[in-house]
């Protein structure tokens, strides 16, 4: 297989895994205040994501780093074209991280309320912005020989906004399911009820997204030529329905697994549709950034492949170990101990 294709696959996997993992942290963050009305419950939710949020965010850094190393031209142009949007993303992720870490450091209401707001903004904005960014990548950016012709406002087109809302809803459902399997009692029940309610909205938006994708993007072209690929969007739909089915059976764990699969498959649906582009041009296809015209040299790709094939499995192994250590539900007694947050 060509090294560009290996790195295209890795690129898609890194983004998809990032969305799957940070998705539930962002979702929990957005719902932090809504689900947990008492300080006790708020601490429980922070403890539920506390051990893993930082490690999950690193998938974003790795996706960014992989784009830089494997497709430097795409990294350079994507990050400079989307300057203002990325700046907002950066600021909100900084605020989210600091809020999660600092909220428990001082026992005062005003202090905690400030960081609660930070957790909400720092979770909602990244979800929306990442969705808008990927919506625009799916539909293409206005770029040609003269460079980029868009702006922060032009990103807010209907399809971009729809994808933004889709991401927000995906993460909300994902987050509430995570809360449901990581907590006990009323908190857990409230979270799974919420997931059920949000699911209807998610279904509506997801269907609109799949239809709008046919109109606003060329993503389905690849599926026309290689029909077997349709398995991926079909799996996305099946997993989406699976969430509802398992919720009806009160099996929150399987519902959460289904929402993991939904997120992975939605992202793969888009990424497969992009191939061989990383960012298509919406004005002149000849100026699309492809895995061939924006990639590193084969030598660099080879080195990076060796590194990835050695270290990514190691990373996955210790991450699984860590999720096992923290697999039990977080209870009130856990957050009574002062030292953890």
């Amino acid at each position: 297989m060509e090294f560009q294709i290996i790195w295209f696959i890795l690129w898609g996997v890194l983004w998809a895994v990032y969305f799957m993992l940070d998705g539930f942290v962002l979702g929990t963050g957005m719902l932090h205040h809504y689900l947990a009305r008492t300080d006790q419950n708020k601490k429980i939710l922070i403890a539920a994501v506390g051990p893993v949020w930082d490690g999950n965010e690193v998938w974003l850094l790795t996706a960014g780093g992989a784009t830089f190393a494997a497709f430097p031209t795409t990294y350079a142009l994507m990050f400079s074209y989307l300057y203002s949007a990325l700046l907002l993303l950066l600021f909100s992720l900084i605020i989210r991280g600091v809020s999660l870490e600092f909220r428990g450091k001082i026992n005062s209401d005003a202090w905690k309320k400030t960081w609660d707001l930070g957790i909400f903004i720092g979770s909602a904005l990244p979800a929306l912005l990442l969705g808008i960014a990927f919506g625009n990548i799916f539909s293409g950016l206005p770029m040609d020989a003269a460079g980029y012709h868009g702006s922060l406002l032009s990103l807010l087109n209907p399809y971009g906004l729809l994808t933004g809302v889709l991401f927000v809803l995906l993460f909300l459902v994902h987050g509430s399911l995570y809360v449901s399997i990581k907590t006990v009692g009323d908190l857990s029940a409230k979270a799974s009820n919420l997931a059920e309610k949000l699911w209807d909205a998610l279904l509506l938006i997801a269907v609109s997204f799949f239809i709008a994708t046919a109109i606003a993007t060329k993503l389905y072209d690849n599926y026309m030529s290689v029909a077997v690929l349709l398995v991926v969007p079909l799996l996305a739909v099946a997993a989406l329905i699976g969430i509802r089915v398992f919720l009806a059976k009160s099996n929150a764990l399987m519902a959460f697994v289904s929402s993991c699969v939904t997120i992975l498959m939605v992202v793969f649906t888009g990424v497969i549709g992009l191939f061989p582009n990383l960012i298509p041009s919406s004005t002149n296809l000849a100026y699309s950034l492809t895995i061939y015209n924006s990639s590193s040299s084969i030598y660099t790709l080879k080195i990076m492949t060796v590194v990835a094939f050695i270290f990514v499995p190691i990373v996955i192994a210790y991450k699984i170990w860590v999720y096992r250590i923290f697999r039990s539900r977080v209870t009130e007694t856990d957050v009574l101990k002062e030292d953890a947050y």
Binding site: V58, Y75, M78, S80, Y81, K105, S297, V307, V322, D339
Partner: protein
């Protein structure tokens, strides 16, 4: 101001702010890990208390290091797209490896360490902080190999309108990168040592938790002495490497205008870049600069005048930063010698003014580190990659001044508030001192449900 100047200001602001947190993380992770190891090896509850207290300060600092680090990775693409396109083939690799090898390790095991007190065995818990320490130090290695390449580009060819990697081994073994790694790492250890000594000194003056802070001080004093000597020793080799590889930077560091052999060293001088000479100079120690740079008395040192004006770095910023860094470096060696002496004799509390000095010495290694980076980065100008790509050709084409004004202002406001919060939190926790209620710290491992 144009996008180049604004982007440079922004890079300076964001990287220097990031560098407030990283050095303490590098050193304090090791000290905390050592404390916890002493506890696990049966050193007694006092080491657990030390782990908890210094660990709490470590975590406050660590969080800001993590979040300000995200900016660093994004910025290359956002503001320096032409740079990223031109050198991404070779510069992107160490960054991606840093994320894969180091960021995952540190971020996953910091979570284990914070939340795992009652979930895993004592040994596994201590191992997790050692893994964090290893990962932060590994992360420094990869980013400094990347920076080392910008200083001394190796293992590449210019092809397809860019620099392409042809020898990964050369990148990995770039002596410039390794010297920088050693110098930078040990400077981080000095920061941590002064941090622990300064806070301990504060409490020892007030006779709070005397045993606790005596031990902390002593541990940090030894660590600080070793690392402040190391940072100077490696720094000496590093400067010699600079003389060999970056003659313009070296000439600016020493304000050397003429190309001469057998150059002496003036302990004090004031450069006058406008007239390409020095205004004031004390008498020179014969041959010393030649010896420092090339280890022989009659070695030739290239002067700034040997290079076109456009290829010279700003002399004032480079020269003064270098001089003050060295001055602080020697001050710190002196202070750590006294610190080791007094703490070994157990006479720290009898020297309240020394303790006061050590409290106010906390910023010294921070300042020295920032000055060192000014030497490294300003001294490399006008190049972004020495001899290969000019900074002026590296900035993104797609951004306009308004965007960068807004982002620069945004960073200034956000980072300004984060800095204020950090200092507030650190001093609050530091002043409060260790938790006396050891029983709450020693919960038995929880039964698995």
């Amino acid at each position: 101001m144009d996008t180049i100047v604004l982007s440079r200001l922004q890079f300076a602001l964001t990287s220097m702010f990031h560098w407030i947190f990283v050095p303490l993380t590098l050193g304090l992770s090791i000290l905390t890990a050592y404390m916890e190891t002493r506890y696990v090896m049966g050193g007694g509850d006092i080491y657990l208390k030390m782990t908890k207290f210094w660990g709490k300060l470590f975590l406050i600092n660590f969080a800001l290091g993590v979040v300000t680090g995200i900016t660093m990775e994004f910025q290359f693409g956002m503001n320096w797209a032409e740079y990223s396109k031109y050198v991404g083939d070779i510069f992107g690799a160490p960054l991606a490896i840093e994320a894969t090898v180091a960021f995952f390790l540190e971020s996953v095991f910091i979570g284990v360490w914070i939340f795992g007190w009652n979930k895993i065995s004592k040994k596994a818990h201590a191992t997790s902080i050692w893994l964090v320490a290893l990962a932060t130090n590994l992360s420094a290695l990869w980013i400094l190999l990347a920076n080392g390449w910008m200083q001394h580009p190796v293992g590449y060819v210019l092809r397809n309108n860019r620099a392409e990697m042809v020898d990964f081994g050369a990148l990995l073994t770039n002596p410039y990168g390794w010297l920088k790694f050693g110098h930078t790492l040990s400077s981080g250890y000095v920061v941590a040592a002064f941090f622990v000594m300064g806070i301990s000194a504060y409490h020892l003056r007030k006779k709070n938790h005397v045993e606790f802070f005596r031990r902390s001080f002593k541990m940090a004093a030894l660590f600080g002495l070793a690392s402040s000597i190391l940072v100077a020793a490696i720094g000496d080799f590093h400067a010699a490497e600079v003389a060999k590889i970056q003659p313009t930077k070296f000439a600016a560091m020493e304000a050397q205008w003429e190309t001469q052999r057998n150059v002496g060293y003036a302990l004090f001088l004031v450069p006058d870049p406008a007239r390409e000479r020095n205004i004031l100079e004390t008498s020179r120690v014969p041959s010393l600069l030649s010896i420092l740079a090339f280890q022989t008395m009659d070695a030739e040192i290239k002067g700034l005048k040997a290079f076109p004006k456009n290829d010279r770095p700003p002399v004032h910023a480079t020269f003064w930063s270098f001089r003050f860094m060295i001055g602080i470096g020697f001050t710190m060696i002196f202070l750590t010698i006294l610190a080791v002496l007094f703490s070994r004799r157990g006479s720290l509390e009898q020297h309240p003014s020394f303790l006061m000095i050590m409290l106010f010495a906390i910023p010294l290694p921070y300042i020295a580190g920032q000055l060192g980076w000014i030497v490294a980065e300003v001294g490399r100008q006008p190049w972004i990659v020495y001899g290969v790509l000019k900074t002026s050709a590296a900035v993104s084409k797609a951004i306009d001044t308004t965007q960068v004004y807004v982002s620069l202002l945004g960073f200034a406001l956000l980072y300004g508030s984060l800095g204020a919060i950090d200092i507030y939190l650190l001093s609050k926790v530091a002043k409060k001192g260790p938790d006396d209620n050891i029983s709450t710290l020693l919960k038995p491992p929880r039964q698995e449900a």
